[in-house]
Amino acid sequence: MITPDSGKKRRFLPIGAFLFWMAVWQAAAMAVGNMYILPSPWAVLKTLAALSSQAAFWISVLYSLSRILLGFLCGVAAGTLLAAATLRFRAADALISPLLRVVRATPVASFIILAILWIGRNGVPAFTAALMVTPLVWGNVTHAVEKTDKAYLEMAEAYRFGPGRKLRLIYVPTALPAWRAACLTGIGLAWKAGIAAEVLCQPPDAIGAKLYYAKIYIETPALFAWTAVVIALSFTIEKGFAAVVGRRGGG
């Protein structure tokens, strides 16, 4: 039976789970007894507070966020345009589809290393983020449009819909839920791949570079603190984006 009490309990459950894992972490840190291997939650929190009091911290956050978001947006635009092209033109489909399937199957590290050689380290995070998102959006949109309900298309034929009206009233609403889903998955992918790219190519002032240097100088609390920042930003971006693109459900 659902009662107001059980609703309250459900709200407190995540907090309880969080406190439980913090306790596990604290116990493990005390058992290890070496902050260079496993720092305690308190040590990480102190480091995070110290880091966030510096302007350089916020510059790094802004720098990584802006570049990865730029890559994400480019990936969404490219994926959408390529989906439109492959659905509209047979030749484009023959050319682009195999390429995007290869991109989708290639390990991200290979692209990051190649991108460092091709475009220099400053552009790599955005490039990697775009590369993660493009095939995802393309695949979701083309699949959705190919599965368009034939009954609607016949209705459009009976009522003589022109190409523009068919696109606006049938294809776009059909593809929209799949496009939204791709964007929601893609934002998380882009963020993680972008940070991985930053770790590998270390552009100045980027979060990934800070992670890399924390590892090099065995500043394990800082490594944990920056990882916490990455996780917190990942949650924030995903939730924020879901609120923006998921505002209207259905088609």
Binding site: A151, Y159, L169, G250, G251
Partner: protein, 185 residues
């Protein structure tokens, strides 16, 4: 008058018509017959949505409005938007008038999922009437409507369009439509 001459049509290996010939005179034509005899297929052939494998269909006017057996309303559009979808850009405002005619003025902003089966049927009817044309083809348009509404909708159609081909599977519906009865058997 629409003439059908030696019409043949199959779905794969399943023959639906073989050498069918008949005439739909001007005015209201009520196509009767039990389920599975190809009434829907014949309507789609007349509307040009299917192509016959042999035979000819002549006298079909240039603009034909078609009301499908299923409502085929776009689920992401409101009732008003579904009707407006078949209207030219400058005449979208007429959707309200057609919804008023089918007694659904208050449901203009409702999505199809929030309408009853009978209401969806009437939105589909409003859409078919809004599209206009010289011939209205309707596949079981009164399905799900109570007798009173059925009578009013049939009267609306008869007052709005001159040439109508409509399927019916009951004597009551055929009586409502009147006109020429054609039995497919």
């Amino acid at each position: 008058m629409i003439g059908i001459e030696k019409l043949s049509f199959s779905y794969g290996n399943k023959t639906v018509f073989e050498g069918l010939s008949l005439v739909f005179p001007d005015g209201i034509c009520c196509l009767e017959g039990i389920s599975g005899f190809g009434k829907t297929t014949l309507l789609r052939l007349v509307a040009g949505l299917l192509q016959p494998s042999r035979g000819t269909i002549s006298g079909v006017p240039g603009r034909v409005s078609f009301m499908f057996q299923e409502d085929r309303l776009l689920p992401w559009l409101t009732a008003g938007e579904n009707v407006a979808a078949v209207l030219p850009r400058g005449r979208a405002g007429e959707a309200a008038r057609w919804l008023r005619e089918v007694e659904l003025e208050d449901e203009r902003g409702a999505l199809p999922e929030n309408l009853s089966g009978g209401q969806r049927r009437r939105v589909a009817l409003a859409r078919a009437l809004a599209f206009g044309g010289d011939l209205l083809i309707m596949d079981e348009p009164l399905e799900g409507l109570d007798p009173g509404l059925s009578a009013r909708m049939a009267a609306l159609v008869k007052g709005s369009v001159r040439n109508v081909i409509v399927t019916s599977h009951s004597a009551y519906e055929s009586d409502l439509w009147g006109g020429t009865r054609i039995r497919l058997a």
